[in-house]
Symmetry: C2
Subunit: 205 residues, 2 copies
């Protein structure tokens, strides 16, 4: 019987935007219909972190071997530590028709885009961008220097978005989560997807 593939949902955005907080909130609500793909890292577990829950903790040697074996969908090095996404879990879950949720850095998202162009890319927009909007309404008393630096950052962040299908403003964590869940629901209602499903059902008759 025809089995529809799950979606690969990629949440990313500039560092410090609150991707982790939003991801944790989504999965704490328990009504998310997608599976979280646990990242792999070479950094030491922090207090309270559990192997296989927060991360898969690996040695540098193990991690580099996985890179060589092509076992990582994406990876990056930060402050001397590797972070990455094991590809097998992602592939297996999608093939089984369940949606997978990744929360990764922008460099990683770029790597996923190359390997899974059909994935759903969601950019979490930082408050700096929402502030841009406020600034126009209520002009503050910042110096020219602060303003021009802020605008430069905003420009760079807007350019970053180009890779993504959706932009979710992180003005409020709960709102951001609702928007992300709505995007996933909508994606499942896309005509191409449903029409294909029905076509296949008809052919099976």
């Amino acid at each position: 019987m025809y089995k529809e593939k799950g979606l690969l949902i990629v949440l990313s955005g500039p560092s410090g935007v609150g991707k982790g907080t939003v991801r944790k909130e989504i999965f704490s609500q328990n009504d998310a219909k997608f599976e979280y793909s646990i990242s792999m890292t070479t950094r030491k577990p922090r207090e309270g972190e559990v192997d296989g829950v927060d991360y898969f903790f690996k040695s540098r040697e193990e991690f580099e071997q996985l890179i060589e074996q092509g076992k990582l969908l994406e990876y990056a090095e930060f402050v001397g530590n590797y972070y990455g996404t094991p590809v097998d879990y992602v592939r297996d879950t999608i093939e089984n028709g369940r949606d997978v949720f990744l929360e990764i850095e922008v460099q990683g998202a770029r790597q996923v885009r190359e390997k899974f162009p059909e994935a759903l890319f969601i950019f979490l927009a930082p408050p700096s961008l929402s502030e841009l909007r406020n600034r126009i309404v209520t002009r503050g008393t910042e110096t020219e220097d602060v303003i021009s630096k802020r605008l430069q950052t905003a420009k760079e962040e807007i350019e970053m978005m180009d890779l993504y299908d959706y932009v979710v403003e992180n003005d409020e964590v709960k709102l951001a989560c609702e928007r992300i869940k709505s995007i996933v629901v909508a994606e499942h209602c896309k005509r191409e997807r449903i029409s294909k499903r029905y076509q296949i059902m008809l052919e099976a008759e």
Copy 2:
């Protein structure tokens, strides 16, 4: 200042699918962030129906004059009565940045597609299509004749979908409403839309 246009949301589907029920449920929930565009008709008000609430009730002469004046976004004739959508209300509301919701017949949706290709077209899929899915799992005892007729209808309905951006299965009214609201939320998060908004804000600086 830059004012973003609202969305034109078009809900349609085969007659008898429950478009009216779904629309009423959406607007009874009071959390819908879009405005309902009241249709115009030449049929007589039924008991309890109020002019300007359920429909704008017009005479045949008035309606035909509006057609001639190009005042209708779409219209169709059913069992001797005209039904249509006044175009001014739709344009004004969108221009003011608010979303407008139309619930119309498939012929009407086709007319809107020509005039507003950028509108959001949602097809409400009838139970006959959901049943198609069930049939594959639990084969019934219908005669060949009933089955082949049903499959023919399903084929026609699937072809109808081609015009639409999204398909919402009307398996349960409340679920269908949630999906429609999610689609509207997602549409507002589309990168093109938000990226354009930020670009314009940057230029305004």
